[in-house]
Structures are given as structure tokens and as C-alpha cells.
Symmetry: C2
Subunit: 338 residues, 2 copies
DNA sequence: CTGTTAGCGCCTTCAC
DNA sequence: GTGAAGGCGCTAACAG
């Protein structure tokens, strides 16, 4: 492989001149520039970026920590990160943690060992999170309230409250929740929104109406089974993501009940499929790609100025009303069993 | 930041010994090993991997070229790649090309400039592909037939033929196709399978029954509209992926027709959602994660032995029959309009 | 087993 | 505008 020295020799110049011709061509005479170009072309020279990075002590790389890349929402955020990173000359290293904390640590190590300059974390912050960490430049994307380092997120509490208020406005009083794992920060925020909306409407909070899910289809299905086994099932179910909502609709339909006539169902995230499934799902849209873009901009700025100020961006969300929700039945057919 | 020299000074040893203690501790005396460890701990020394890579001239990094990371199928393949890469000490650099060939080239450059050792390409090979390229170690994953470099794929032709044969066995004779873009290699392979199954059953091929889609929901919806506007619509529609199939079902239902009673619909890829939507979708499952794992194993082996042999792995697929397909109506209700 | 030393490829002074 | 030289952090080769 040709090195800068080979080019220098070929062009009859010094390595310093070649280097300058590459970085600041305007400060090299036209004649020599031509020689350099000819030599580069002849030798098919490609600068060794590994050497450049080593010398500049900058990897120009961002690690993205993601719990599960096969989740469309995360994938979209990553796509947004990539857009911005690429534009700014950064590469994106994928850190699929598969929810293992040892993997998480090994990715954080990459920053300590100079393989990466910073981290964008797509896992919400919990008490046992390895981040933030002294000397590690990190941004939390898709975070929850009270994340102790710079973050980009939506207002989960407000969004959930909005969903629940909408259901209340349709006359629903018994509103079930298919939650995420109880200790998941998003689940906590969204439950908070649910409770505040109920409180505003003077409806008592009934813990039995909260069923724990795990943000995947299977858990949505088993959760809805629990609701349907109740003597008085809810007339509406607020699911904390679309996967669980779609599964819930399936579960309800499999029992011969109808969405939204018998039970209304809402989701969260507004996946692409949610407007194509039947019935199209009422859901909360998050600007996933923009969250990614914003996070990337943020960390790149921090990296450049090395100012780790505690910004927090709250991005807008939008409640999208489709056909999975309707006015509550006065006498829900299921309760007639009683 | 502490360097290996600082550690050497602190431990009262030479840099060479520190280096050896780190790489081959068994070849350093126990006494000195302890000193080294103490010094490392005291200084909180972390080896500079950028320097290591520079010196070894190996980036231990694989670039994954993907058309669209927000597509679940690709995301799963990437997840598989990550599994294996991580185990073997490789990092995965994300190359979301957004179908831009300039972006594609810039990622390929990374190998030439030493930022990456090899490439796994998730875009199927076409005549204007930049890969394969002299001196670039690359593997094509999710490829189509006749890819001119090492590849991992399923038998798209066979899988499609299987789907169509199954539909034929249900009595369908007019089988529509919602295809990918006409020049997409997967679309080409799958159409080939469709035609061969028809030929085997002595059913003439009718070009009108092929409608071009683009592997996304919107195109599925508009394609199905074309079918339903026909004087004699097909009684079954073979969609080249699940997105388009789900959209097709929506389109059919919106017109007051029923799947599968009036029209059968099949998909391809077997996304998670496909078993949860209604009706659950008959589809072809591809082992996405395994395709990724296999690709990663392959390129790592090639990198190690620098033997660019032309292997081609064909992974198993599986036709999964669910409720979106049924026996053909003798008198399809739509044709009664005539 | 340990120390010494010479670079890897590049960029950046600093003279000229 | 250009050349010479030093050094980034690390490892490998060799000498002791």
C-alpha cells in the first residue's frame, strides 16, 4: 500500500508538502499541486485514516447504545443519528446491548480506549445505569424524566395524559393499561400521565386495571387475556406501545368482541403498520428520526466545544386518532354477563 | 491521559514489559505483574486502542451496508451480524446508504482508508453495484441468485414457487402479484419462482396480473386498488413482502371484500406483526438473524485467512400458512359484477 | 524474564 | 512555498 512517503518520492517533493496539498491545497503552488495529484493517481494512494485518527487522537466515531435494534422505533432514531453524523464526518458504531449490562460496559469502554468519542444512549436511564460517567461524553435519547445527563425525549407524562383524557372524553371510565415492565422509566412516566388524567377527572385509581407487559406482541396478548377474564373488563385499554396494542386487538377479536365497538384500544409510537392494520390504531406519534438527529447534533456540539452542559430537549408528540377508539358503550356487552 | 510509558515509570519497569503484561501476562513474572497491575490501577490507565489499531494496521471493524435500517428485516440481520462480530472482537459500523450510491461509495472507501476491514452488503447486487471491488473484502447478505461474490441468501425462486403452488393447490387460477420494483433482484427471483410454478401447472402467464410495488405499505395499497378495478380481479394475491400484503388486506377490506373468503393474500418475510394482524398472514419466513450471523462468520473467516473464496450459502426458508389464504371461491363474488 | 530501540503513517512545527 | 525532523502510543525484535 502506498504511503504518503511514496507519493512524496514519486512527486519529487517532501511528505510535508503532500500532507499540506491534501489538507490545504490553496497553500501549495499550482505546479506542485499538479505533481501531487499525478503521483496520487499513479500510485492509487489512499490516506490511512487509522494513522490520522491516531495522530489527532480523535476517532470521529459515535457509539449508539440500543436495547434492541430490531425494534422499529429505535431503528428510526438510529437512522436520524446516522443522517447527522455522516454529514458531520462522524461514523456510527452500533452497540446492540441486548439488555446485557456487561455488553453495555464494553461499549462504554470504547470511549475510554479512544475507539469512540462519545455515546448516544437509547436505553432509558435507571438507577443501575452505567451512564453518566466521569469523562464520558454522552447523550440520552428517548429518555424519560429526570435523566441526569443531556437528553432528548418527548413528554411521556403529558402524552399519556392526553391519551387518557381523550378516552375519558369518549365516556370511558374503566380504562385498562397494558404497561411496560414496572421499573421501565417510560412505563413509569406514562403511568404517571395516566394517573394524573384520572385524578383530573376525579376518577379513582384502580391498580387492578394496570397489567404489566414487556413492550412486545406476546405480552400484549397475555395481558389482554387478563382483562377479558375480569368480571367487569375495562371499556378501553391504553397500551404503552403499538406492538402490545395490536396484540391486544387480536386478543379481543379472537374472543368475538369488537374493537372499537366493545372495547377501545390505543397504542403509543405510531409505527408505520399501525395505520394499515385493522382497525387502524389510535396512537401517539413520536418524531423518532428527529429525536435521533437532535441527539446527534447535541453530542457533536458537545464533542466540539467539550462543554457538557445539561441541556434537555423535549420534542413534540402528536395524538393520532384513528378507528380503534370510539364512544363508550353505556352497557358494555361483557358486563351483561353479570 | 496516562500512557503506557507512565505506567512503566510508575511500576519501575519498561514499556515493553507493560505491553507484554497486557497481552501475554503468563510470560511476565508474578512479582512484576503485580507491580504493573498496581500502577495501572493507580493511574487508571486505559490502553489507547486507536494506537493499537494503527500499529497493527487492522481496524477490527466491519461496515454493514444497509438500504434502510428502519426495515425490520434488515434490522434483524444486523442484529445477527452484531452477535457474531462482538464475539470475535469486531465492531460493526453502520452504513445506512438510504439508497444513494454516493453514500455507498463513501462507505466502501472506509475499507480503502483502513477504517474498516471488510463489508457486509445488505443491498442485493445489481449491474451498477460498486461491489465487488478489487481489494475489498466483502460478503453479500440477503442476496439474490448469481451474486458475483461470496453471499448468504435464501432460495427466493424456490420459496416463491412454493407459495404459488400452495395457492394453486387451493384452487386459485388467477393469482395476482404485488412485486417489488421491476429491476430489484429479489423481485426478479421471486417472479421467476411465480412463473415456474404457473408453468408447472400449465397455466399461462398473464403480465397484467403483475403490479409493481416498492416493498412498502403505500405501494401495496395502490397496487391492490389496481387489481380491484379489474373486470376480473385475481382470487389470490402473492405479495413480495409482508408490508405490501398487510396494506393489500386493508385495501381489500376497505372495499367491503373479505380476506381470505373473497381473496387470498400471501406475504413474504414473516415479520413479527404478521401473526398478530388480522387475518394472520400466510408468509415465507426467512432466518434473518441467522443470515446475519452466517454472513459475519463468513467475512471474519475471509479476513483471517484472506482467502476470498466464492462461497454461497443458501439458508432454509419456511412457508407459514395462516388465515389469510383459503380455498378459491368457485364464483368469486366480484366477477358476478360482469 | 526484562530492557532497549526502532518504527507504523501522518501531521505539525520550525527553519529556510 | 517548501523541506527536515520529531513524535503521537504502541508492539515486535533483539539483546542481555
Amino acid at each position: 500500500m502506498a504511503t504518503i512517503r511514496d507519493v512524496a518520492k514519486e512527486a519529487g517533493l517532501s511528505t510535508g508538502t503532500i500532507s499540506k496539498a491534501l489538507s490545504t491545497p490553496e497553500r501549495v503552488s499550482a505546479k506542485n499541486l499538479a505533481k501531487v495529484e499525478a503521483a496520487i493517481a499513479k500510485l492509487n494512494y489512499k490516506p490511512n485514516m487509522l494513522a490520522q485518527k491516531f495522530r489527532s487522537n480523535e476517532s470521529k466515531t459515535i457509539v449508539v447504545l440500543v436495547p434492541d435494534i430490531a425494534n422499529v422505533f429505535f431503528a428510526k432514531v438510529i437512522s436520524g443519528i446516522e443522517n447527522v453524523a455522516q454529514q458531520s464526518g462522524y461514523s456510527v458504531l452500533l452497540g446492540d446491548t441486548k439488555d446485557s449490562s456487561s455488553r453495555e460496559k464494553s461499549f462504554i469502554q470504547m470511549v475510554e480506549t479512544r475507539l469512540a468519542d462519545g455515546i448516544i444512549n437509547l436505553r432509558p436511564h435507571t438507577s443501575d445505569s452505567a451512564l453518566p460517567q466521569e469523562g464520558i461524553c454522552a447523550v440520552s435519547a428517548t429518555s424519560s424524566e429526570n435523566t441526569p445527563y443531556p437528553s432528548v425525549r418527548i413528554d411521556n407524562v403529558g402524552a399519556s395524559a392526553e391519551v387518557v383524557k381523550y378516552l375519558l372524553s369518549l365516556g370511558h371510565q374503566r380504562i385498562g393499561v397494558i404497561s411496560g415492565l414496572t421499573d421501565n422509566p417510560h412505563a413509569i412516566d406514562r403511568l404517571k400521565g395516566y394517573r394524573s388524567a384520572l385524578a383530573d377527572a376525579d376518577i379513582p385509581y384502580t391498580p387492578d386495571l394496570i397489567v404489566e407487559g414487556d413492550f412486545n406482541y406476546a405480552s400484549g396478548l397475555s395481558a389482554v387475556d387478563q382483562f377479558l377474564a375480569m368480571s367487569e373488563p375495562p371499556t378501553a385499554i391504553f397500551c404503552m406501545n403499538d406492538e402490545m396494542a395490536i396484540a391486544a386487538i387480536k386478543g379481543i377479536s379472537d374472543r368475538g368482541l369488537k374493537v372499537p365497538e366493545d372495547i377501545s384500544v390505543t397504542g403509543f409510537d405510531d409505527m408505520d403498520v399501525s395505520s394499515y392494520c385493522r382497525p387502524p390504531l389510535t396512537s401517539v406519534a413520536q418524531p423518532a428520526e428527529q429525536i435521533g438527529e437532535r441527539s446527534a447534533e447535541m453530542i457533536i456540539r458537545m464533542l466540539r466545544q467539550s462543554d457538557t452542559d445539561g441541556h434537555e430537549y423535549v420534542m413534540p408528540h402528536r395524538l393520532i386518532i384513528r378507528q380503534s377508539t370510539a364512544i363508550a358503550k353505556l352497557n358494555p356487552n361483557v358486563s351483561s354477563i353479570k
